[in-house]
């Protein structure tokens, strides 16, 4: 087995193990903290794919910012403990069925797709290239994300100013 394969399996175990804890833990703070190894495992997978920029952004936004905000919100809203929140309801069977169907679908799609295996060199990750890509081929996605963020910002302001 090559080093990359070993690394892939180690990272997959970390990601999936942390993911299982996120879903099953009865304590919502444990779930939120377990998100971090899950995100870092995905970061490792990005690095294995030579996608360093995406990997760093993953750490910056998901592990660093999103998790902190989730923890912050839990601690502000649930009296600092988060222990009173019920993590499960009676829809477990339905949820499991949907998850199983989704897994089967993904497996079928992944195994039946003819993945391209062309050779070539990766473009360099320079700030210029990243900027060109955002304002060139990916402009629509970029602007779409901006609108979503703007809407959530306005929503947050409206919620925060409700008492006026």
């Amino acid at each position: 087995m090559s080093g990359e394969t070993v690394a892939f399996y180690v990272l997959a175990v970390i990601t999936l193990g942390a993911g299982v804890i996120v879903v099953t833990s009865p304590n919502i703070v444990h779930s939120a903290v377990a998100l971090i190894p899950a995100f870092l495992g995905v970061t490792g997978l990005y690095i294995l794919l030579n996608a360093e920029f995406v990997a760093v952004i993953q750490v910056l936004i998901y592990a660093g910012a999103i998790t902190v905000l989730i923890l912050f919100v839990i601690m502000l809203t649930e009296g600092g403990t988060g222990l009173r929140v019920h993590q499960r309801n009676e829809q477990g069977v339905v949820g499991a069925a949907v998850a199983g169907a989704m897994a089967a679908l993904l497996y079928a799609v992944v195994t039946r797709t003819a993945w391209g295996t062309g050779t070539g060199t990766l473009p360099a990750y320079t700030p210029g290239a990243i900027g060109q890509s955002f304002l060139g081929p990916n402009l629509l996605v970029f602007e779409g994300t901006s609108i979503v963020l703007l809407v959530s910002l306005i929503g947050a302001i409206i919620i925060a100013r409700k008492e006026d």
Binding site: V6, V56, G64, T67, G80, Y125
Partner: protein, 335 residues
Amino acid sequence: MSWALELLRAVVGTVLIFTGVAVIAAMFGVLLERKISGWIQSRLGPKHVGPQGLLQTIADTLKLLQKENIVPRNADPLIFASAVIVVPLAALLDYVVIPFGATRGGPLIYRDLNVGVLYFAATSSLVVVGILMAGWGSNNKYALLGGLRSAAQMVSYEIPIGLALITVAMQAGSLSTVAIVAAQTTSAPHVWYIITQPISFLIFLTAATAEVNRVPFDLVEAESELVAGYFSEYTGMRFALFQLGEYGEMFAMAAMAVTLFLGGWHAPWPGRPLLHPVLWFVVKLYVLIFVFMWVRWTYPRFRIDQLLNFSWKFLIPLALVNLVVTAFFIMVLRA
């Protein structure tokens, strides 16, 4: 390179960085802090252990190693114990992209990532996760308040740091730390980015003080109101590890400021450097560390609302204007 060798290199690198941070940043940093605070307050500072009190921190560390390890009864044991690992680990990760100097073989850096500056922004923001875990896991209201303040503070001050980093990256045209140092030192009189980007430098230094929770931004561990903040419940070696993480983070911020604004490991003039590059780096590093400590023992503490307002209503608008002005000048000068 075979992967086993790469793994060995990673392990050796981690051990080296950890030892370096523990000895140079944490132990010597604490001693320096006490000496400088003593000097500013017209005291002598530690004086008795070793010549001029030089061995004081070593004695303190040995004492901390022998202390009983207390876990509060209502604490969450898993989170309480793992927070101790997260804080120093996040600080250590910063050092991967910092070039400490140069030898004939090239710059002395663990890995020159071409997204190095972004990587630094990402890893330095991970510390807050450990602080929140410690605050929540202790099951103590003062610790929790400290953790929450830290989260609010770090999320606010990451933005001015990011905006200051962007202006430097724009001017250098690269996100790699080695390339940024090179961009400052290729021209005949070296033009450090502190000269072309003084506002960015001040924003970075201010926000870095807030990111590492030092006075006047140390609301996270404000002794007069929160006991010791998020690490109130920690004893012995666990307390020492938090201390290590904090000083490690401060030295990492100062090292990054040296790399981005003060020309890295190069002498201020081209040609013969007089000192070894590593020494130049250390000299500049300790100048900035001295500034951090000077500020700490000179200014009183902010209130939490003043602190957050300062970031959102002053630093971020200033950083944005600075960004636009930088972009304008780069467009004009390159056109």
